[in-house]
Symmetry: C2
């Protein structure tokens, strides 16, 4: 049987490409370039096994900086970007045309896509359908996607919290931090967050329900701030920052404390990472420091999705996004993560549904 | 009823005291002094609830250096020593006279005692009887005591090894390292140790049955030595050294690797600990770094004691001690730990049974 396929095209496809490999030092917009290219065919054959999508939202993530570096050995987390080629991250998309039996035109999906208007997805099995259309679509590029799963798995599976424990979250207004803090409150923990502005302190205390929060830029001594907020010490530190922050936390940990290492955003722009000196507390306080990646917990996604959708509907979890409009704004939004310019989860809105 | 108690005395009691608190820098013998004092009464009333022991062997342990420092807040591990007072550590003793119903004169016991000829033990319930007299008595100040339990609990309970895994042990000829390596071999792991002399390399390879070993003093690049010994990477690192060694290990860990932190002997004499920079591998390799202290596993002692006695009798575990003769030799023996002068577990023999 021969299928008659109508091939339509869009005139152009705006995209953000890697201009050149990033070396050490601060990430700048010059690493990226917004270019116009020819759009791919927007209709594919039913036998093609690929899917064409229109991108609606894409996520800005700190680990993308690491993908911009030329590595001698491939990273275990995500493939390196290639100069001249489009950046990728998690996004929310609408299927325009499908060569995959489980997807059809009009479906709303989320998964890894390009920083561009239209993308041909060669592995459609990597896409997931959006099961909770009652929530804002953008949530699947954040709290209902990998960032929510990261917070959920990191807190419940790695930190293993108990009711009444003392929890400290750094970068606590970010994509993952804001969710971890609220999951800790739901668990019955005492939660304090550190952030980089008074506006974020206010959000933590009055919107996310943290017990306390401080603006680290206003503290002369990070360790003293921790002692003030945690006179009894810290049971769980959810690490998003690294370096000097970790060094300040270590002496304030309680016996048997757990440090769950999700990210180290303070370190990514440094030529040499800050060195940490208080590691002897690992022995004296019998600490467990554990790193994790959300994709090790993909098997827990369905349970997570059900619970998180419920929390969001019941407003037990409040979620704050910082949405930049259009691909032209994308490079600055990504760079802004490293100075904490964003308030809440940083996304780019590319198109309306 | 009045008990007639014959009080006998020894003329004198040689002891090693802390001369002055230790500051930063290399531990020297000048921190200690060997003095003669009046011996305590060697006979106690049956109602006294104390026990008098003659000390036979005492253990030299790196953590004693930390007890010689004046701390602002009490340590969670062991109480600080006090200038003018006797040092303490684990030892093997013979009961001379007992005010405790479970102990009688002539019993051989082990536990914390003084660095002196005779000690009055005020908490006799802290002493344990020696259940395997077929083994050398000195073993209870090491492989059959806390050092063996440290190796056993740290390896099996914290590292959680699987057959076929790649295990690296630093300070691998020491009190704990030599046992960990042999337990790893019994488990079916591939084991490599680092040590500070060719004589120790020889012991590891030809006496303890390590698969490989290297003398770190002869390696220009520790990390390259690890790459040579572990082309596939390291699943378990049993950490006895800290600092630069930890930094060299981190990039060589495999995904899901575990670093069990038992000690950091390279750091104890430093004014400021060496700073560690490769902590980002905790995330990319999803590592678990965990500290522990053997006394958290005291409840496992009976099981450990039974198994280890069996291994030793069957020569599945070979144990090497470095026994200095007499209390006069004790300060130098303790100081020698930090330069790796000892070959095997360092003890002091104080008296014959």
């Amino acid at each position: 049987m021969v299928l008659a396929v109508a091939v339509t095209t869009a005139a152009s496809n705006k995209r953000v490409i890697l201009k050149r490999y990033v070396m050490t030092g601060l990430l700048t917009e010059h690493a990226m370039e917004v270019v116009m290219t020819k759009a791919p065919p927007l209709t594919v054959s039913a036998e093609s096994s690929v899917v064409v999508v229109k991108n609606l939202y894409i996520s800005c993530d700190p680990y993308m900086r690491n993908q911009m570096i030329r590595h001698d050995t491939p990273s275990s987390i995500a493939p390196d970007f290639i100069p001249g080629e489009v950046l990728t991250s998690c996004g929310v998309m609408k299927v325009l045309s499908s060569g995959h039996p489980d997807l059809k035109a009009g479906d709303l999906v989320w998964g890894v896509t390009g920083w561009e208007e239209y993308t041909v997805i060669n592995s459609p099995e990597s896409l997931s359908k959006i099961n909770h259309p009652e929530l804002p679509l953008s949530y699947y590029a954040g709290v209902m996607g990998i960032h929510g799963l990261t917070a959920y798995a990191g807190f419940f599976e790695v930190s293993k919290p108990k009711k009444g424990e003392y929890v400290f979250v750094s970068a606590a207004c970010g994509a993952v931090g804001q969710i971890v803090g609220q999951l800790a409150k739901i668990t019955g923990c005492y939660v304090v967050g550190s952030v980089g502005s008074d506006e974020k302190v206010n959000l933590l205390k009055h919107k996310f329900g943290f017990n306390d929060a401080f603006n680290y830029k206003k503290e002369l001594d990070f360790e003293a701030a921790l002692k003030r907020c945690f006179p009894q010490g810290i049971d769980i530190y959810f690490e998003n920052v690294g370096g000097a922050t970790l060094d300040a936390v270590l002496p304030n940990m309680r016996l048997g404390g757990r440090i769950t290492v999700c990210g180290m955003i303070s370190q990514y722009n440094l030529e040499h990472p800050e060195r940490v000196q208080n590691l002897f507390y690992i022995i004296t306080k019998r600490l467990r420091i554990e790193g994790f990646l959300s994709f090790d917990y993909n098997c827990r996604y369905r349970q997570f999705e059900r619970e998180m959708a419920e929390y969001l509907r019941e407003e037990k979890v409040i979620y704050v996004e910082d949405i930049a409009e259009g691909l032209d704004a994308a490079p600055a939004a990504l760079v802004g993560l490293f100075s904490g310019r964003n308030i809440g989860k940083q996304l780019i809105a590319i198109a309306q549904e």
